[in-house]
Symmetry: C2
Subunit: 403 residues, 2 copies
């Protein structure tokens, strides 16, 4: 008997389940494994033997996950200790994997999860285990190194840009000078906020200013720029990253001090409100701030169909080529051509991605340090292409829950 195990980790995306279904559905065709097991709540759930056999569930129900947002197998934020400081969990995990006759473990996640894949593969080699660990990337933040982009980013970018488009129209209806601020996620990187540059009406950008962590934020310049723009426009639209920092590298949101998560990452939020208060205090009367919160990472009703398909292709490729992919490696997307857009899957060592961050390129930031250049527009636009082929029931998307 030869089975595989698949699990999800870290923050959800709209398309994270597509990668699961890429693995699951292609195994129905290629029959590489007798059963596809799912680890519920990632590595943390697996350690508690929270494991279900997807192959024993009605396959139509499982496959509906492809168009269901959020991590259908549950998730965790669980950091494995280094094996040389504590082997216990590693031993327990390998025992459980043996018990279920797991040949290959597919782990879908971001740079922390790729660290888990890397550590497990190294430990596996040390104990001469044949179990293979393969990473599949996901994150709306688009901050994984080496690859062109990550699954999940395109759908979030599509939602953010459309929200900027629609809400700037909404903000502009009254004959009153006003500022509209949208706060995106993205942690230390500005990819998500920068994606709003694609929002256009009559071929003109609707977002006036974009502020990202890769630009040191300058309060004085900010107030000057916005007020100058208000002299010539009724509505000024701003998109800002949660992880904005000042020139000393201090998080703007740390005025409120949200603490840190289990990985030691600062818990961010509240930058839009901070900018709103700055503007109000300096005399701008009408300012609205909106935090997109989890909406940007789970709006499957408006996901990018290209993103859904690329996430699926990664799972499919990983399954189809699992014999040839080395343990500790991951699959990823390479952009082959921009217009017309074409991409392909390649493999790389998770050690190149684990715990690293890919920042927004400095040379895609404008000279005023308050927006991004055309390169960002050209980079992002192909990734949001296509409307999701969702099944509707009574006017609402038909999502499933199998957990």
């Amino acid at each position: 008997m030869k089975n595989c195990l698949i699990a999800q980790s870290g923050g959800p995306t709209s398309v994270i389940n597509s990668s699961v279904i890429g693995v699951f559905e292609k195994n129905l065709t290629y029959k590489k494994f007798d059963s596809v097991y799912a680890g519920i709540n990632g590595i943390e759930g697996i350690l508690n033997e929270n494991i279900v056999n997807l192959s024993e569930i009605n396959k139509d129900i499982v496959c509906n996950l492809k168009y269901t947002p959020s991590s259908g197998l549950g998730s965790c934020r669980y950091k494995l200790e280094n094996a040389n400081s504590s082997k216990e969990e590693y031993i327990k995990l390998f025992e459980l994997l043996s018990k279920y006759h797991i040949d290959t473990f597919f782990y879908i996640g971001g740079n922390d999860s790729m660290d888990t894949v890397n550590k497990l593969s190294i430990f596996g080699k040390e104990i001469n285990s044949n179990i293979k660990f393969i990473g599949i990337p996901k994150t709306i933040d688009n901050d994984l190194d080496v690859m062109d982009h990550t699954p999940g980013f395109g759908s979030a970018a599509k939602f953010i840009a459309t929200t900027a488009l629609e809400n700037s129209l909404d903000a502009d209806v009254y004959n009153t000078k006003n500022v509209f601020i949208i706060e995106s996620m993205g942690r230390d990187t500005g990819w998500l906020a920068a994606s709003a540059t694609i929002a256009r009406i009559n071929n003109r950008p609707v977002v006036d200013f974009i502020y990202i962590p890769e630009m040191p934020f300058d309060k004085v310049k900010f107030l000057y720029d916005v007020k100058k723009k208000l002299e010539v426009k009724n509505t000024v639209t701003i998109v800002v990253s949660e992880g904005l920092r000042d020139k000393d590298g201090k998080f703007i949101s740390q005025m409120n001090s949200f603490g840190t998560d289990k990985f030691g990452h600062a818990q961010l939020g509240g930058v839009a409100n901070y900018l709103k208060n700055l503007l109000k205090q300096s005399g701008v009367k009408k300012v609205r701030a909106v935090e997109l919160s989890t909406l940007q990472r789970c709006s499957m009703h408006y996901a990018s169909q290209r993103d859904i398909e690329e996430a699926y292709n990664l799972g499919e490729f990983a399954l189809e080529n699992c014999e040839n992919i080395e343990s500790g490696y991951m699959v990823a997307i390479k952009r082959v051509n921009n217009i017309p857009y074409e991409s392909e899957v390649f493999t790389l060592s998770t050690s190149l991605v684990a715990n690293k961050v890919k920042y927004f390129p400095k040379n895609w930031i404008n000279s005023e340090c308050n927006n991004v250049t055309d390169e960002a527009y050209e980079y992002t636009l192909p990734l949001i292409f296509g409307e999701p082929k969702i099944q509707y029931e009574n006017g609402l998307p038909k999502y499933v829950k199998i957990k």
Copy 2:
């Protein structure tokens, strides 16, 4: 020469422009008026002679407004004085209407705008003017009296319910007890928050508690209910109206005191955060609060196609029957049948709607006073039907700006 004038007032909706195009497009067919003029920024803009001739603009561009959210002709929040206390504005307005040979003035808005239509029609009769004033309803709040529902509500309900659906899946991925709170608009009424009852997965509601202004909010009962639910569920999902009040009728959000708008309505907001803080203070560790802000009223990318069509039909009916509609009257929607859904347009005096509020029915509130009954489900569901027939360009909706 015989022209008509159309203008928009109050808060935007996703489908408010459909009513404009219903008037404009049907005039191309029926040729009731030589020109269709648009008053920019409602009655306030008209008083400043901010008037454009839509019939002189490329009609394809104008008609694209049908699938563009927000008030394409601009809006205002402008309260006409009573004619018996100040006639100046009335006289100025009638002079301007005569100057442009306006025979009929179509005014799209909520209960304040219907008050404007009512006042103008009364003044017109007093001065023996032949100019006709016809109201066309709109508001996401669904709080206009007499009619079954208002255009704009269905699209907002679709967005709110889908957001509840998707974000409750997102909130549920970690193996951690948590509460997810969504704050909707709706002013003094609970229609919008109540619409979240239609969000279902596997035929089960995903929203555990709905709190609306028509239920007096009880802190102690709230904390008890949520904590009890957390004992049996991982994620508790709550939708709350911005206008929630306690048993003494005091706005929950008035803890922060946001002041009032020009109509004397209290400016609301921050209820979700208030509930979040209540829960945190009483020991619930993980709570996320999201204010849907203007997203719920301008997400045309996800509007209800039925809502778009009904808004269009109202404009179409008003144009087609303008000779037979009495001045000071408005068009509105009557539900003829629920399953299969069927509606028709009827007319009524704006005096029945002006300055009145239609509250959510008390007998659609459950006995625990923390959710709504099946009647709300059956009432709301048909209104969100159908996906919008939007034109896309490079993966983003193609919206227009003609203002």
